[in-house]
């Protein structure tokens, strides 16, 4: 086990939120067609409120802090926030579109000791990238920002969200990342909007094309191993946790709402009314999430993929049941291995998704 994995395990045992994603604004200078946010300001936390939240997160033991949005640089106090976060010794990662980053901003980010900057690039072709962001000239600005950040010696990662509109441009974006000397990560997940609007899901990559992506050696490494049938799940999987959301990680909106994860919009408390520690320790919503184990998932626990699926509890929640399947992940498991998921089989039989016969066991008291 790596040192980092050991610390994660320790944080889990101690109930410490080692990782927090804080969106400091939902305002943005781009209008990406797949975005799950609305970009109006409904009363963002002030600089003082955010600094107070950061103090509380530091006291709670948070180590990894992701600052995102919206576009983080839309806030005039962005650098004051980062400066405060670094004074508190967080490991700070930024997510940005880079459009507002010029040489001076890149230098300041480096001076503040930011660990990593993740920048969204949708295509190496301006006409495709700019059509997704709806901001003419945005790819040019974004690439310039990456060069400025790189010239400061910063670690930069290009995040390539793949959807129907930029299908197969991943190869071009990977080549661009290589040319720029930065890392590359691909994400084929399109999530419903925070308000429950699912219209953006039409942008998801269709199944056959997803299958093709999963067979790209440059993306997945060993294709045979990646696409292998899942092994029989053991008891450790049934006793395991679905993911880190609510266990060692959580998400905070610009309005102080606390959710288990950015993809899991279950309101669990608000930092304008409660202290972070109180929410983290006592929120009934977070405690409910913490009680869920693999065996508690009515459909997924009977699925062959349960041990290897990327099932997102947040996406399942947005589909109506946090213990249910996340159909986007069912599709990924199927396209990866060619083996239908339990959810697919139940659906094809016209079932509600709940097995006809269920056996539940509990330890004797």
């Amino acid at each position: 086990m790596s040192l980092l994995a050991e610390m994660n395990q320790k944080a889990l045992g101690l109930g410490i939120p080692i990782s927090v994603h804080l969106d400091i604004t939902y305002r943005c200078n781009e209008r990406c067609i797949h975005c799950y946010l609305d970009h109006d300001d409904h009363g963002e936390m002030t600089t003082a409120e955010i600094k107070d939240v950061l103090n509380q997160l530091s006291d709670a033991g948070v180590f990894f802090l992701t600052l995102s949005g919206g576009e983080v640089l839309m806030r005039r106090d962005f650098f004051a926030i980062v400066e405060h976060a670094r004074r508190l010794l967080f490991n700070v990662k930024l997510k940005t579109n880079g459009v507002m980053i010029r040489e001076a901003q890149a230098r300041r980010i480096r001076e503040l000791g930011v660990e990593q900057v993740q920048i969204s690039v949708y295509s190496h072709r301006p006409e495709v990238h700019d059509a997704i962001t709806k901001l003419p000239g945005s790819l040019k600005r974004t690439i310039e920002a990456i060069r400025f950040l790189k010239s400061q010696g910063l670690k930069v990662v290009i995040a390539n969200v793949l959807m129907a509109s930029n299908l197969f441009d991943n190869t071009g974006v990977m080549a661009l990342a290589k040319e720029l000397g930065v890392s590359y990560t691909l994400d084929p997940t399109i999530t419903p909007k925070m308000d429950g609007d699912t219209s953006v899901l039409a942008l998801r990559i269709p199944g056959p094309e997803l299958k093709q992506i999963f067979r790209s050696e440059e993306l997945v490494g060993n294709v045979e191993a990646f696409c292998a049938p899942p092994p029989t799940p053991g008891e450790d999987i049934m006793d395991g946790l679905p993911c880190s959301a609510g266990h060692t990680a959580c998400y905070i909106t610009p309005y102080g709402d606390v959710f288990p994860c950015v993809q899991f919009p279950l309101p669990s408390g608000n930092l304008r009314r409660q202290k972070f520690a109180e929410i983290w320790q006592n929120s009934p919503q977070l405690n409910e999430i913490r009680s869920i184990r693999g065996r508690d998932l009515p459909t997924c626990s009977s699925c062959a993929h349960v041990g290897t699926c990327t099932r997102c509890p947040g996406l399942a929640y947005m589909e109506g049941n946090m213990r249910g399947p996340s159909t986007a992940d069912c599709e990924k498991s199927f396209q990866r291995t060619g083996i239908p998921t339990a959810n697919m089989l139940f659906r094809s039989r016209g079932s509600s998704g709940v097995p006809l016969i269920q056996i539940r066991a509990a330890a004797a008291l």
Binding site: L3, M7, I16, G61, V62, L89, V92
Partner: protein, 100 residues
């Protein structure tokens, strides 16, 4: 020898262990209890020998000479990764980062 915590790091005390990551090369460290005491006392104004004599020896009941050697080795290793700044003179700089 004077030592000061670098500002190019991330750090947090997790269950009695100090977790540190270098922002320069992303090297990750955890410090045990004794190393954590030295790291927290590294304010740039206190000599390493005083940290050992005043904070380590009485607290952990260790031999001063042995503790001194171990402390110097520890400081040298962290300095190589840019986690600690070492100087023969007091290190006057911006206020040391908060180590909560």
């Amino acid at each position: 020898m004077y030592i000061a915590r670098s500002s190019a790091i991330a750090a947090r005390l997790i269950g009695g262990e100090m977790m540190i990551m270098s922002a320069v090369d992303s090297t990750f460290f955890t410090l045990n209890e004794v190393a954590t005491v030295i790291w927290q006392a590294a304010d740039g104004r206190t000599r390493l020998s005083d940290i050992v004599a005043l904070k380590i020896c009485p607290e952990f009941e260790v031999d001063p000479a042995e503790a001194g050697r171990d402390a110097e080795q520890f400081v040298s290793e962290l300095a190589q990764h840019g986690i600690l700044v070492v100087s023969e003179q007091p290190i006057a700089s911006t206020p040391p980062p908060e180590a909560r």
